[in-house]
């Protein structure tokens, strides 16, 4: 699939934003973080910025962005619609929670409950986003169980990495907990990604050029003449190809930058002099962001659409 920047940004940024939102709510509600106003202002600012800029970016992918509002109507069947509705719904509790935190300086009790509702909705929204992809049978690389798990865990993971950075900057909250949490999430994220990549290679093809054309009884099928001389929409959108070797290299890089290095850096925070932990946490965050951008780029670029079976691929 064509790795469109707007969609890569949308999925990573909103995932991170909702992830951050979740940790703010959970840690705030459970009293691990005091309702520090400046911290709150910045943290919620970042979370909302990521969520909103992600949503705006996603409309960059639309042919008619001015009609984007129409995307809310089909929540009964469409995950994209559900995602939109959920995103809007989520703004209510998270917004109130942010206000109570920043304005009233309260983040526990009733505020905490509202925050937790926001956290649940945030997770549901990430899930809905993931289901936009996971529900597409025509793209086997997406329509598998790892997609949603991946989106959820990576969202929470980036959220916690940001949280860690914020806590380091502001020196608020229980940094030991967030260090542990981030480390665990990074490990889990890396593990899930590995599983995901393994699943892409394994399991055999779901559709083949033979099943696409129904000509399998006559032998192995391959295209010899394309219906058109130049690339059409399908080829531009779904015919994206990256070399296997290139993909392998990028996967390794994504793994190292997105998970291993940050994990090492975060782990180092626990043992190394606290003065360095700020730098380490920010470095870890930067590394996560770069790694995740690559991961998400690969998520699109590596995904093969069954329509390519009509255009020369033999199996997807």
């Amino acid at each position: 699939m064509h790795p469109a920047k707007s969609v890569i940004y949308f999925t990573t940024a909103s995932g991170a934003g909702y992830g951050l939102m979740v940790w703010l709510a959970v840690m705030g509600a459970l009293g691990y973080i005091p309702a520090d106003r400046t911290f709150g202002l910045v943290a919620f600012g970042i979370a909302f910025f990521l969520i909103i800029s992600g949503l705006i970016s996603s409309t960059g992918h639309l042919g008619r962005p001015e009609r984007a509002w129409r995307a809310l109507s089909q929540w009964r069947s469409s995950w994209l619609s559900r995602e939109g509705v959920l995103a809007i719904l989520t703004f209510a509790p998270t917004g109130i929670y942010a206000l109570t935190w920043v304005v009233l300086g309260k983040n526990t009790g009733l505020a905490g409950v509202i925050g937790l509702v926001g956290a649940v909705l945030s997770l549901t929204t990430i899930y809905a986003t993931s289901m936009i992809y996971a529900s597409l049978k025509a793209i086997p690389a997406w329509s598998n169980r790892w997609t949603s798990v991946g989106y959820l865990v990576l969202g929470l993971m980036t959220g916690s990495a940001i949280m860690l950075g914020l806590q380091s900057v502001f020196g608020v909250g229980h940094s030991g907990l967030i260090i542990k949490l981030t480390t665990v999430l990074l490990a889990l994220g890396g593990f899930i990604k590995l599983c995901y990549w393994r699943s892409l290679g394994a399991g055999g093809a779901r559709s083949t050029a033979e099943s696409a054309t129904g000509l399998g009884t006559n032998g192995r099928v391959h295209m010899v003449e394309s219906p058109h001389g130049e690339d059409n929409y399908l080829l531009k959108e779904m015919g994206y190809k990256i070399a296997r070797k290139h993909a392998q290299k990028l996967r390794r890089l994504a793994l190292v930058l997105g998970f291993i290095i940050p994990m090492a850096l975060v782990a180092a925070m626990a043992v190394i002099i606290p003065e360095l932990s700020l730098a380490l946490s920010l470095l870890a965050l930067v590394s996560v962001i770069i790694g995740l951008a690559m991961e998400r780029w690969l998520f699109f670029a590596e995904a093969k659409h069954v329509v390519m079976l009509f255009y020369g691929q033999s199996e997807v």
Binding site: K137, A138, G219, N232, L234
Partner: protein, 250 residues
């Protein structure tokens, strides 16, 4: 409603394409473009029409495949038109966030309301058959309409009330009708020829059917493998002698 019709009528309009006689002439593809460029989803925009990368909206595209059976040492060439299959479980409909993509209750035709389409392209990702065509210029999705504005059109003479691709196909490889009615001509044709659906594993339940290319008739016992010679003398001397005596009355 982008949910699929619940109380759908049993009418399932669709196409039947005979791969045994399609010669790959592209007539169906071009005539489709010609009708539809002023039809319901007008225009079928062309980008860079006289330039380096001409690309436009087409509802029908004709591929050519080879099927090679290395073990048997055989291969064959098959021309393969591809357009919307008007699936019963059309994922392009259910994924659409706006309701622009829908399946008609009356006849099962899958259509797009381009007045409300936001061009999110999700339906094109959902369609396994590449049947959806994005109009870059208008920013909306388009696709085969099964010539909904032709098949019922009272302003046309009856013989023109068929999809453009069907009425134009020079070999008669394309048929059109109600595949929901087991007694319709097309259903009978499908039945008789073992018509099949593409990629059933995708769970889309296409309405359109393809008729498989028939087995080749290479020496299938239609005649002895060689003729009995009446004379095998060099240069047929004996035969010529026989023919000298042949009396023909004209």
């Amino acid at each position: 409603m982008t949910c699929l019709p619940q109380n759908a009528s049993r009418v399932k309009l669709g196409l039947v394409i005979d791969l045994d006689i399609c010669v790959g002439c592209h007539a169906c593809a071009v005539n489709c473009k010609e009708w539809n460029t002023s039809g319901k989803l007008a225009p079928l925009t062309d980008i860079d029409p006289y330039g380096a990368k001409p690309d436009g909206v087409w509802f029908n595209r004709v591929h050519t495949f080879e099927a090679v059976d290395e073990a048997a040492g055989t291969s064959r060439t098959v021309h393969f038109p591809r357009s919307c299959l008007h699936c019963e479980d059309a994922p392009c409909v259910t994924v659409c966030p706006t309701g622009a993509s829908y399946k008609r209750d009356d006849d099962g035709i899958v259509l797009i309301n381009t007045d409300i389409c936001i061009g999110c392209k999700l339906c094109s990702w959902a369609c396994p058959y590449g049947a959806r065509e994005y109009d870059e210029d208008e920013g909306v999705m388009k696709k085969c309409t099964l010539c909904v504005d032709k098949i019922y059109n009272e302003n046309l003479p009856p013989e023109s009330r068929v999809p453009a691709c069907v009425s134009t196909c020079p070999t008669g490889a394309r048929s059109f009708g109600d595949l929901g009615d087991p007694d319709s001509d097309v259903s009978k044709l499908v039945e008789a020829r073992g018509g099949y659906a593409l990629m059933p594993e995708q769970g889309t339940a296409p309405v359109n059917r393809y008729l498989p290319p028939r087995p080749k008739k290479v020496g299938d016992g239609m005649a002895p493998r060689m003729l009995e010679h009446h004379d095998d003398s060099a240069d047929g001397a004996g035969l010529l002698a026989r023919w000298v005596d042949k009396v023909l009355s004209v």
